[in-house]
């Protein structure tokens, strides 16, 4: 059984921070009967065991914690640095996106890689981060015709959002480049890399470094920089 706690109806850092704060408070309290929580932009899905906690009791506890969510202090976020190769062979839309924005490809790369992004939540497919923090100057509406297949690791822009495809899937974001790092690796003991609340930065790399890192990723000896 599950309950959805809605803390707003918008996509904003403020609302999402309250969602993550509520999840943190539930973990800290060790709320009886809560089995699993799933944060998203503006709500927290709470799976519970009705054999251990009644619906009314749980609603009351969650309501009380939700009120504390605006003032709760979250633990410090991790900062994850992801190498990204903006070679047009991997960033299929880099040149078109730059042209549309009235920028040179290098300016677009500089703006994209100098921003710091916040992982709102991870979901839809395993390990896929939904991120905020796209500079206004490089925001673009999504592609009119989505691609049928986007390779895993592709770094995409769509509106105010930024995502990195964790598995090969269809997609409608402008592809600027690709990271050799795997956000989802089913063969690893910890298959997913990013978590809700992480901060992410992209470090531009050239094709040679991309290939070198990719070889280390495939040999499972590469560790991204996490501070």
């Amino acid at each position: 059984m599950a309950l959805s706690v809605e803390l707003g109806d918008d996509i904003s850092v403020e609302t999402n921070t309250r969602v993550r704060a509520l999840e943190f408070l539930i973990q800290q309290k060790g709320l009886e009967g809560v089995a699993e929580t799933v944060p998203s932009f503006r709500s927290l899905l709470v799976y519970y065991d009705p054999g251990r906690v009644g619906y009314d009791t749980l609603c009351a506890s969650l309501g009380a914690l939700a009120e504390q969510a605006s003032t709760a202090v979250l633990p410090p976020a991790r900062l994850v640095e992801l190498p990204c190769c903006y070679d047009p062979e991997l960033g299929l839309d880099l040149e078109a996106a730059a042209q549309r924005l009235g920028l040179t490809p290098d300016e677009l790369i500089r703006l994209h890689s100098s921003a710091e992004y916040l992982v709102y939540f991870v979901g839809f497919t395993p390990g896929l981060p939904y991120m905020a923090g796209v500079p206004e100057r490089i925001q673009l509406p999504r592609l009119t015709t989505p691609r049928v297949k986007v390779p895993a690791g592709s770094v995409g822009l769509g509106g105010a959002q930024f995502c990195i495809y964790s598995v090969e899937s269809p997609g409608g974001y402008w592809l600027l480049g690709r990271t050799p790092v795997r956000l989802y690796d089913p063969g690893s003991a910890e298959p997913t890399l990013l978590r809700a609340g992480d901060r992410v930065r992209m470090r531009p790399i050239d094709r040679a470094e991309y290939d070198a890192i990719l070889a280390r990723v495939e040999a499972r000896v590469y560790r991204p920089v996490i501070a």
């Binding site: 799933v38 979901g123 089913p186 978590r195």
Partner: protein, 313 residues
Amino acid sequence: MIRVTDPGPQTTVQDLGRAGHLRSGIPPSGPVDVRAFVIANRLVGNPDNAAGLECTVLGPRFTVEAACTIAVTGAEAPVTVNDEPAAQWATLELAPGASVRIGAARAGVRIYVAFSGGLDVPTALGSRATYLRGRLGGLEGRSLRRGDVLRRLPAPASRLARRLTAAQIPALEKEPEIRVVLGPQADRFTAEGIAAFLSSPYEMLPQSDRMGARLSGPRITHSRGHDIVSDGIALGAIQVPGDGQPIVLLVDRQSTGGYTKVATVGSFDIGRIGQVKPGQPVRFRAVEVAEAHRLRRQWVQALAEAAGGPVAA
């Protein structure tokens, strides 16, 4: 050792699933029909979470090297051991070299096979359940292939052979009534849309899978847009995209999504909807949260009775 001579169209290793990873986008997986799965395990003296097989529409053929017991539950399908007909919902003793064949489902979709000791595949995030889209768990994250060899974990020494009574075997109805709790976005639909949803039959479509059961019927009309700010998707959530057709999300579901959800199927009816064949109709009935809790307790009790002891479901 179990040697797979014919895997059937989609046979996967499942246990009761991996909890706690939806926040990373990884669904629980596990059997769609938990009741049939747990009973199969009980019939061979296994813990409820022991790994067994979930087969879709058509069962596998396999031979066992050593003596063991198995049980076949779920969808109604012909079972033979060394070409002799054998019972479902019963403990079957297999001699070394026995060959087992499970045919096409006559009623229902998902057939379960439990093996004494449980299947020995590596655990991934604490579970042996297969998540096909994520290539995680089970046998190399995939469905079985011809020639695969499965091992069993050591089995407890003695077991009692048992067979369910006819009354204990869950019925596979022609037009099951599926109980739902309305929400979380029922307010995004018109009164006519909700009325259609709760009064008309919806037909199961062939493109249904472990991720979601796709249905077709009278349009469930939206009152203001079919997209929402993406949020978490509970087990049994019924998404209604712009075409007004419902999709019931199951054990391999995406963790979040951006379509409106008209209602949620109670966990006690997930197995029932998971046994509905393509082309077969279902009806939906709305219940209050308190009633859903009561139905769930009833389901747990009925399962405990059929399984021959309390369950931690």
